[in-house]
């Protein structure tokens, strides 16, 4: 199954057979005080810097989250989209819990964006599916419903099915629903990652949809976080993760290696291309 996203010029194909597409996570105010302070001053230069460094590190899509206290993200998110699209041609992933902000951003965005995210709560489905349909956007379906978070992979699969079914009924193409199996910290629950990996396998094998996840926080509360993140990312890719939301400066090397060992990179072209890009003088 293929999900196609479009920027102003560039088209990105996310294919369930790989190779892995990287959605850059860095335009996000969490732990980035400078992003907050510059955006508050209506200064987009630092956001654009973050975009550029991620694209240089081979991000294929950029996640855009500009929600923080004291900001009206119904205004800021569309402004951020306009700024980004004035400078960069790759697709955007609009990240906000506020449906009004998503809608306002879609109104001004060119190309075909990804919405981060819709979940199986009735309110979320009713509010966001018509918006996605109207603007022709793809959606991330987070496996969460009105009962909260389940730790049973089969139940998470059911929730994924529900989101897909409701999306299709709303007129969204099946392939435009990317599932987020919901990664959680392994420090608090030794089975947390196992449950998500199993969900990835089930969604991949039974539904055949593309799969994303933001997984930088699975290592919360532990030392040597990068080792944990890398092990988890590699296993997730094996099971069917196709478009992680991550920091490309940390993850691209690993993602290229994973594609290579899975036989998706003939002559190691992409792996070597990335290696060479890291050898260039900055």
């Amino acid at each position: 199954m293929k999900t196609i996203l479009k920027g102003t010029l560039k088209e990105v194909v996310i294919d369930t057979e790989g190779p892995v597409v990287i959605i850059g996570e860095c335009i996000n105010p969490t732990r980035r005080k400078k992003l907050v302070s510059t955006l508050q001053a209506n200064d987009f230069s630092y956001m654009l810097e973050l975009a550029k460094s991620q694209i240089d590190a081979m991000a294929d899509v950029l996640d855009v989250n500009v929600g923080f206290p004291g900001v009206v993200d119904e205004e800021l998110l569309p402004q951020a989209v306009i700024e980004l699209q004035d400078h960069f041609d790759i697709p955007l992933c609009l990240d906000s819990p506020n449906p009004k902000a998503i809608e306002a951003a879609l109104k001004v965005a060119r190309g075909k964006c990804l919405i981060n995210s819709v979940n199986a709560e009735e309110a979320s489905l009713q509010r966001l599916l018509p918006v996605a349909r109207e603007y022709g956007a793809a959606i991330i379906g987070l496996v969460l419903d009105d009962d909260g978070i389940t730790h049973d992979p089969e139940k998470r699969l059911k929730i994924a099915e529900k989101i897909i079914e409701r999306a299709v009924r709303s007129g969204i193409k099946e392939e435009d629903v990317i599932i987020d199996p919901m990664a959680m910290a392994v420090s608090a629950d030794p089975n947390a990652c196992r449950v998500t990996l199993e969900t990835i396998r089930l969604v991949h094998d039974r539904l055949g949809h593309n799969i994303t996840q933001g997984a930088s926080n699975i290592s919360f509360g532990l030392p040597h976080r990068e080792n944990i993140n890398n092990a988890y990312m590699a296993m997730s890719i094996l099971y069917g993760l196709t478009c992680p939301i991550a920091n490309p400066e940390k993850i691209t090397g690993l993602v290229r290696a994973a594609d290579l060992v899975l036989g998706r990179d003939d002559y190691a072209i992409r792996f070597i291309e990335h290696y060479q890009s890291t050898q260039l003088p900055k």
């Binding site: 105010p29 206290p69 906000s96 819990p97 532990l222």
Partner: protein, 221 residues
């Protein structure tokens, strides 16, 4: 301090729950916090003494080591589990009024936010500091916080937010709580929260780690 109190304290610090628990491996087949607390009470040691001289100092050491990055979340959870196994024997004395808690602490993650690890760590540490915990869970509405505050007059309240996008809900809840209960102490925490934000929204205290909250509560009780 008597030997048994020291042993209980060690069990809690290193997360030795009971004799069956294989953790930590170095303490395999030894009695844990559960059995030792029972023995201590049977020997006539007062539950308040167990709390003050074994559990609270152990959890305080755990909190300090965590703040210094010497131990990590799983070890803290083990310690909290060992503490809970000891508390099973002590709780009846609270209910009968024979042993007093330092106060009541209401805690919850704000509306729209489902993160519970930080909140759980803080509530375990504060319970280990001798407080009664009213845990409202995650995605807690302002109304639910108010309801709990009304039910527990004199309680201290703690709000957690892990997303920059839910800090706004934290602000709203704190604002309403502040107006409704002017004298109530309000603590805030979570990855994106800062001292500055705490001050701006009119909360009383912010700490980047659980131990800071425990220390602050000591100054109140």
């Amino acid at each position: 301090m008597t030997e048994i109190l020291e042993r209980i304290s060690t069990c809690v610090e290193f997360g030795k729950v009971d004799i069956k628990s294989p953790y930590p491996p170095a303490m395999k087949d030894q009695e844990g916090a559960f059995e030792l607390t029972r023995h201590a009470l049977d020997e006539g040691i007062k539950p308040g003494e167990i709390l003050e001289e074994a559990l609270i100092p152990a959890m305080s050491r755990v909190g300090q080591k965590f703040s210094r990055n010497e131990i990590f979340v799983p070890q803290m959870l083990m310690a909290a589990k060992a503490m809970s196994s000891s508390m099973i024997h002590i709780k009846p004395y609270y209910l009968s009024g024979e042993t007093k808690r330092r106060g009541t602490f209401i805690i919850g993650t704000v509306r729209g936010d489902l993160h519970d690890i930080g909140k759980n760590l803080v509530s375990m540490m504060i319970e280990g500091g001798g407080w009664e915990i009213i845990d409202l869970g995650v995605d807690v509405s302002t109304e639910k916080f108010i309801e709990a505050a009304e039910k527990h007059p004199g309680a201290v309240i703690g709000l957690s937010a892990l997303l920059t996008t839910t800090m706004e809900n934290m602000r709203k809840s704190v604002e309403v709580l502040r107006n409704r209960f002017p004298a109530m102490k309000i603590l805030v925490g979570g990855a994106p929260v800062t001292e500055d934000f705490c001050r701006k929204i009119g909360a009383d205290f912010y700490s980047p780690d659980p131990q800071g909250a425990v220390e602050y509560l000591k100054t109140l009780a």
